[in-house]
Structure formats: structure tokens, C-alpha cells
């Protein structure tokens, strides 16, 4: 019987099987950020332990950092202390840091691929659930808690129970202005936010092959919103082209690269590989997706009404009533009749250069609606530089948008970018949980073009009806 991509990555990393049935797995890359690491470093100090492979550990600051011009001066003393703690920890323990002020700083899941740290066949972990992003390269990448962060620092391994496999095949050809964000929201709407729990998803099919690396990352990013810890896509020519692009200092070069590619070519799932579960989604039938509730599975096609509490599949009446009350919405409403106060284009889901280009395509020569605040936050300082080289900030600014510096920003308001109570936001991020973007804030998840169009119209629009640009 053939093997799946997941098995082919898992097996070479097995250090040993443990008596309790779990597996001790070797970890190739450990990414670290300021929020989930301080207590792990404190644990090292407490026990007088060192990092086993500091050269495999990389860190950055993203959650707490302000995104305005004066961001080096963090006004919130508690945030500042957390950022300082990471600097000190990296220095004391010999970890490479792409800190605030560094050209390579950015959201951890954006800089990993960008720097060539994320490669096919690797095991990658980070104290952050969206580590699933890196699976777009055919790596096994998953989020861990702080105790596990400490465990990886000390041992470069993790004890894991083997997950089950779940193949999601995206077939057909999507219509115009349907993006990978819509694919993944559709999936979560179909299987629910716990539908992938205990599984590693493998995304495949012609609609996935046709996607760029950046679009693939947006899908893998949201695997966790379906409950799966990891999502994977088999490496192919698109993957190799991305890795061999200029400016990937940590990617293999020359002869090492050739040997790596030869190996990566062996990774895709065999034709006769068997998955524990499978699902097929026809992308030709996917409409632009917008969430209406407080988890990413509460999602509808833009031309469908907000469901009645008794008819929202998979949710109890109480769940739906709570969500609608929080969101200030009435069943039967079309989201195209709902106005927005804030538009946030950013986060590890959709703040790469292609996302910004897509938003610029909509905003070019147009103005945002007067009542809307429009925030465009690049995912990394390198994305910011690239956007500047392409003249995108001028488009954003002349549309009335605010062009910011790299960070998590309003994806989760741990920094000054936050929604105020009851503000409604069209957001390209990944979580519409209560209070996520600011206490009382109302988040609707959408693709970058849906967000940009909402900024112009002042309300949600069906992007399929947007004039050709």
C-alpha cells in the first residue's frame, strides 16, 4: 500500500516509539514569538537547562508591536516588557532574532517561508496555532503550547500521538474573483470548526495545483480553524520556484538544493495511498464567502441570507442566537445590506504581497467610503518594501487607507490596533471570535478583494459583480 505525504514526512522524523503508544518526533525548525515563549525560557532558567539546537530556533516579534511610524517606542509598558524579554532571552540562549527594527521582522508565519526557513519535508513547530501555514510547502507544521515550546527547546523533540489523515480534494475551476480564502471558508462551513480535530488535512486536486504558494499558505493557515492541527500540500514546481527565488537566505543552494529537490519529489502521496477520510469540493460552485457569526464555520455565500437559528446546520439554537445577538444581526438579512465601519487587510492569512496586489486592484483610482476606516498592514517588513517598490502604498493612501508597518495588528488587538465595541469589521484575518479584534468588536472574515470592495462601498458587496479593472 502506498504512503501519504504525511506519512512520508512523519516516518523519517521518528526518534523512537514510546511505551505509551506515542512517538518521539524530531523537530527541524522551531519558530518563537514573544507571547508564548517567556514562561518556557523561564523554565529553562529554573532548571539550569540550555537549548539543544539553538541554530534550529528562530524568533521574531509580531503580536505586541505597534504598526505606526513611531512603533519602536512601545507605549504599553506590559507589551514593551514582553518584547524586551524576548530580546534578552534570545541573547542569553543564542537564538537568532528578527526583532523590531530588523528588515526581516514580521508575522512569524510570513517570515518563515520568506526567509527560506520553511521547506518541504521538514517538521516545524511554533507556540502558535497558525503554524499550520507552513504545511503549504509539504512540511508537517503545527502549533504547540508553552510547555511544549520548553520541551522542544530542551530536547529538539516532541512526543506525539499519530494523527489520522484527511484528504480534501478541490476540483474544478473557480469562477472569477474566487480566492483560496473562499476555498477554506467553504471547507470550514462544510465540516465545522471541529470537523478536522485529530486529523492532518492534505489539500489536493487541480484547483490547489493551480494556486500560487502564497494562496496555498492562506488555505493551510486556516486548517486549525477546521480543528486540524496541520494542513499539507504536496510540493511541486510552484513550490520549488518559490524556494529558489532570490532572497531566501536559509534555503539550500547549489548542489545541496539539487539533492533537496530530488528528495522533495519523492514526497507527494502515492496514488494508492489510503486516507482515513476524504472529501471533494467543487470550486466551480464556490461563491465569495462571508462569516456572519463568532466562529469561522458560521459562514454563508455572499448572496445567501443570514440563517435562521433553527436552520443553521451543525449549531444549536442557543449557539446561533448568542452569535447573532453579539454580531447585532437579524436572520434573513443579506450581508450586502450590512454596512461596515472598519476594513482590515492584514494578518498571517492574507498579508503577503499578492494579497496586497489584489486589494490594490480594487482600490486603484477609487476612494473608500467616508465612514470607513481602512487599515492595510503588510505581513512583514520585506512585504512592505516590495509593496513600496511596486507603488502600492500610493494607491492605498489615495484611496484613503492607512499604510502601516508589519505586525499582527488588528487580527488580535494585543497592540494599539483594536476595534471599539460594536464596530463592524470586514477582515482578511482568520478568527471572528468574540472580542478577538477588540472587546465587543464584530468581525466578518472575507478575502482581500471582498475587504477592499467593502471599504469602497461602505458595505459588503458581491465581488463577482465588481466592474472589470
Amino acid at each position: 500500500m502506498g504512503k501519504t505525504l504525511f506519512q512520508k514526512v512523519w516516518e523519517p522524523h521518528v526518534v523512537r516509539e514510546l511505551a505509551d503508544g506515542s512517538t518521539l518526533l524530531y523537530i527541524d525548525r522551531h519558530l518563537v514569538h514573544e507571547v508564548t515563549s517567556p514562561q518556557a525560557f523561564e523554565g529553562l532558567r529554573l532548571h539550569g537547562r540550555k537549548i539543544r539546537r539553538p541554530e534550529l530556533t528562530f524568533s521574531t516579534m509580531d503580536h505586541n508591536v505597534p504598526t505606526t511610524e513611531d512603533r519602536m517606542d512601545i507605549k504599553d509598558p506590559v507589551s514593551a516588557a514582553q518584547v524586551e524579554a524576548l530580546s534578552r532571552n534570545c541573547q542569553d540562549f543564542g537564538v537568532t532574532l528578527f526583532g523590531l527594527g530588523d528588515r526581516r521582522q514580521g508575522i512569524v508565519h510570513i517570515i518563515g517561508p520568506e526567509l527560506g526557513l520553511t521547506l518541504p519535508g521538514l517538521t516545524i513547530v511554533c507556540g502558535d496555532s497558525h503554524t499550520s501555514t507552513h504545511g503549504a510547502f509539504g512540511a508537517l507544521a503545527f502549533g504547540i503550547g508553552t510547555s511544549e515550546v520548553e520541551h522542544v527547546l530542551v530536547t529538539q523533540t516532541l512526543a506525539q500521538n499519530k494523527p489520522r489523515t484527511f484528504k480534501v480534494e478541490f476540483v474544478g475551476r473557480p469562477g472569477p474573483r474566487i480566492f483560496s480564502k473562499d476555498f477554506v471558508l467553504k471547507l470550514i462551513g462544510t465540516i465545522g470548526t471541529a470537523g478536522g480535530t485529530g486529523h492532518v488535512l492534505e489539500y489536493s486536486g487541480e484547483a490547489i495545483s493551480a494556486l500560487s504558494m502564497e494562496a496555498r499558505m492562506s488555505i493551510c493557515n486556516m486548517s486549525i480553524e477546521a480543528g486540524a492541527r496541520a494542513g499539507m500540500i504536496a510540493p511541486d514546481e510552484t513550490t520549488y520556484a518559490y524556494i529558489t527565488a532570490e532572497n531566501r537566505p536559509y534555503a539550500p543552494q547549489g548542489e545541496q538544493l539539487e539533492r533537496a529537490i530530488a528528495y522533495w519529489k519523492t514526497l507527494p502521496s502515492d496514488d494508492d495511498a489510503v486516507f482515513d477520510r476524504t472529501l471533494t469540493i467543487d470550486t466551480g460552485r464556490i461563491a465569495p464567502q462571508v462569516t456572519w457569526g463568532n466562529n469561522p464555520g458560521m459562514v454563508v455565500d455572499i448572496d445567501q441570507p443570514i440563517p435562521d437559528p433553527d436552520q443553521a446546520g451543525g449549531y444549536t439554537r442557543a449557539d446561533v442566537e448568542n452569535a447573532l445577538a453579539y454580531m447585532g444581526l437579524i436572520p434573513g438579512t443579506l450581508l450586502t445590506d450590512v454596512s461596515v465601519d472598519v476594513v482590515f487587510i492584514g494578518s498571517c492569512t492574507n498579508a503577503r504581497i499578492e494579497d496586497l496586489r489584489l486589494a490594490a486592484e480594487i482600490l486603484k483610482g477609487r476612494n473608500k467610503a467616508d465612514h470607513v476606516q481602512l487599515l492595510i498592514v503588510p505581513g512583514s517588513q520585506q512585504v512592505r518594501e516590495q509593496a513600496e517598490a511596486e507603488g502600492l502604498p500610493e494607491i492605498f493612501k489615495s484611496a484613503g487607507g492607512e499604510w502601516r508597518y508589519a505586525g499582527c495588528s488588528m487580527c488580535l488587538g494585543m497592540n494599539p490596533d483594536q476595534l471599539r465595541p460594536k464596530q463592524r469589521c470586514a477582515s482578511t484575518s482568520n478568527r471572528n471570535f468574540e472580542g478577538r479584534q477588540g472587546k465587543g468588536g464584530r468581525t466578518h472574515l472575507v478575502s482581500p478583494q471582498m475587504a477592499a470592495a467593502a471599504a469602497v462601498a461602505g458595505k459588503f458587496v458581491d465581488i463577482r459583480q465588481w466592474p472589470e479593472t
Binding site: 523512537r16 504547540i144 508553552t146 530542551v154
Partner: protein
């Protein structure tokens, strides 16, 4: 970590599914670099009103639940962010056991707890118990009908016993590794360090092609 063997306490109920870790401990409390001080902030946005007073409408503020240490919830508890702070907050707020139901959707079993949350809980001595939807419904009914409803949770025998006046016994499954870790209060870094020799051997033979940034290229 404190070992967990058996626990008796009052059950509180929270009638919500898909409770995410952003609700269990909101973002503003993640700025701390400590492991302590999270307890009073568990469920912060639901628990307190804007002026900082206990929110009377929040179920867990019901005076009936004073002194509770077991929490029964609905499906998919702890989803979302990997923040271990959620487990620290629950533990420090006095919870020792969380009960959630698995459910069946289209012939597939949807677990009661999100993966990362369950791992984090085990590493901190917080027991997660998965029961059937019917069993959890029975617990909700028992708690609704009887103030101060208590249960005894015994990990060794994998049983929850609801005490009088609603006696009922439920068995639960738990994987061998988590059970051992909880029963013995093991430090899992210590455990893994027993295999130091295996890790070193693995590293010596490791194909650098898999990990091109690791040094010994000529060993391939």
C-alpha cells in the same frame, strides 16, 4: 506538576459549544511573562461587566456554583488559539476537571476538546473528560435540578460518579500516555531526557537533506 488521581467537587455547567481560548483568557492577559495570576481573569469578557463588576447574566457567576471545581461544557471546548494561558487560567480559577461531549456528525466522531487545548491541559494536571452527548446532558440536568451537585472523578478506574441525589456512573476513555502523566505528575522533559542517547544517535544519522540548514552535509 501536581499529580491527579481522584477528585471530588461541585460541578458547574456552561451551556456553550465551540468555546474558544480567546474567551477562556482574552488577549490582554497574554502580555504577562509569568505563569501565575490568570485565575480571576478566566472568561473575563463574559464574567465581568464593563465597569468591572461580576456579570449576573453569566452562567458561571451563579451563586449556586460557588466552590465549583468541575466544569461541564458542550462540544469542541478550547478551540482556536494554542495559548496555554487558557489552561493556566482555568486551573488557577480552581477547576480540576473539564467534561465535554464528543458528538457524531455525518458518521464521524467530533471530539469534545480541541487537540492543543487537551495537550496543554494534561501537561498542567487539568483532566479533560470526554463523554457522550447523552451523558453530558444527564449531568446538565442533574446540576440544574440540584444545587451543589457533586461528582467524584477517579482517573485510575476512568470513572465519574455523580453523588446523591442523582447517582450515576460514567466511564471515560483516556490515552495511556496522558493517564500515566497525570497520575504520576510527571515532568515530560525529564521523561524525554531519558532518551538522550536515542536523540543523539538520531541526530548523528539524520539525513541533512531533510534539514538542509543542519550542519553535517557530507554525511548524506
Amino acid at each position: 506538576m501536581e499529580p491527579f488521581s481522584t477528585h471530588t467537587g461541585i460541578i458547574a455547567t456552561l451551556n456553550r459549544s465551540n468555546v474558544d481560548t480567546d474567551q477562556i483568557i482574552p488577549k490582554q492577559f497574554l502580555k504577562s511573562i509569568k505563569r501565575t495570576g490568570y485565575g480571576p481573569n478566566a472568561f473575563f469578557d463574559w464574567r465581568y461587566t464593563d465597569d468591572g463588576r461580576p456579570n449576573k447574566d453569566f452562567e458561571l457567576n451563579d451563586p449556586r456554583f460557588a466552590g465549583r471545581s468541575i466544569l461541564a461544557v458542550r462540544n469542541n471546548f478550547g478551540c482556536g488559539s494554542s495559548r496555554e494561558h487558557a489552561v493556566w487560567a482555568l486551573f488557577q480559577d480552581g477547576y480540576r476537571v473539564i467534561i465535554a461531549p464528543w458528538k457524531e456528525v455525518n458518521g464521524e466522531r467530533v471530539p469534545g476538546f480541541a487537540d492543543i487545548f487537551r495537550n496543554n491541559a494534561t501537561k498542567n494536571g487539568l483532566l479533560t473528560v470526554e463523554l457522550s452527548e447523552e451523558e453530558v446532558e444527564q449531568i446538565f440536568l442533574a446540576v440544574a435540578g440540584n444545587e451543589g451537585q457533586k461528582a467524584t472523578v477517579d482517573l485510575a478506574s476512568q470513572k465519574i460518579t455523580l453523588l446523591e441525589p442523582n447517582p450515576m456512573v460514567c466511564s471515560f476513555d483516556i490515552d495511556k500516555g496522558s493517564k500515566k502523566q497525570l497520575l504520576e505528575g510527571l515532568d515530560d522533559i525529564e521523561l524525554t531526557l531519558q532518551f538522550e542517547g536515542d536523540i543523539t544517535r538520531f541526530e548523528n544519522e539524520y539525513d541533512p537533506m531533510l534539514s538542509p540548514a543542519s550542519p553535517p552535509l557530507d554525511k548524506a
